[in-house]
């Protein structure tokens, strides 16, 4: 799946976009975030407070219980501040 990071999530993880294989046992966004946290200090820091992380799957806003599967485009970002 394709995973994207925006704004300070990109700064903290040091990644803007990557392709990853769905890790074993991960089937929703919450599981994916837990797995990402274990990757590095930067990822742990970026995902330490889930209440300030917003998620989109296939470019639609979703909640952490949304399912994920290979082929999905998953994006993580802070609450939006446009306008």
């Amino acid at each position: 799946m394709k995973v994207l990071y925006f704004a300070w999530l990109k700064d903290k993880t040091g990644v803007s976009e990557e392709d990853i294989d769905l890790p074993d046992g991960v089937n929703d966004v919450a599981g994916l975030m837990a797995w990402l946290r274990g990757r590095s200090d930067g990822f742990a820091d970026a995902f330490c407070d889930e209440s300030v992380v917003r998620i989109a799957v296939n470019q639609e806003h979703v909640a952490t219980d949304h399912t994920v599967s290979d082929g999905d485009e998953v994006a993580f970002f802070p609450p939006v501040t446009g306008g």
């Binding site: 925006f6 704004a7 470019q59 994006a75 609450p79 939006v80 501040t81 446009g82 306008g83």
Partner: protein, 150 residues
């Protein structure tokens, strides 16, 4: 119509084009957002807007469709810029045209409120103390909730 672009726009030209050729339009209401030179008591010299290409367009189209479903509108336009913008520069343009002013006013207000909480844009301010990401305001969420239909 929606447009996501790096370059500036001319509100006068956009307004002219929006209503041109449609004599059923009785009024156009528009909003222009600008880069302020202050934030939290600090001087801000510029702003950099990041967005999520693809999702941005999708969200703006969805927001526009909601407005068109809700009010009798003849035309709508949303322009949002990205990239580095200096203080005083235009960031966003929203306009709604209708036969009567109520629909135009309400739709314009709705569009900007919704855009601020749904469209995937992020602002980074450049100030004397350094660059920092702007935090979302709960007042913006409240402004959007005001439009929830019961």
């Amino acid at each position: 119509m929606i447009r996501v672009q790096e370059e500036d726009f001319d509100p006068g030209v956009e307004l002219q084009k929006l209503s041109e050729g449609n004599l059923a339009i009785g009024g156009v209401c528009s909003f222009v957002g600008l880069v302020r030179d202050f934030a939290g008591g600090e001087q801000v010299s510029a702003m950099t807007l990041e967005h999520y290409p693809g999702m941005t367009e999708k969200q703006l189209e969805a927001i526009e469709k909601q407005a068109q479903d809700r009010w009798p509108l003849d035309a709508t336009l949303i322009i949002h810029r990205y990239g580095r913008l200096e203080a005083g520069e235009r960031i966003v343009f929203v306009a709604a045209a209708s036969a009567h002013r109520e629909a135009a006013f309400e739709a314009c207000h709705f569009l900007i409120d919704w855009l601020k909480t749904e469209a995937p844009f992020w602002k980074k301010e450049s100030a004397a103390s350094g660059d920092h990401w702007v935090e979302a305001k709960t007042s913006d969420d409240d402004a959007t909730k005001r439009w929830d239909q019961t």
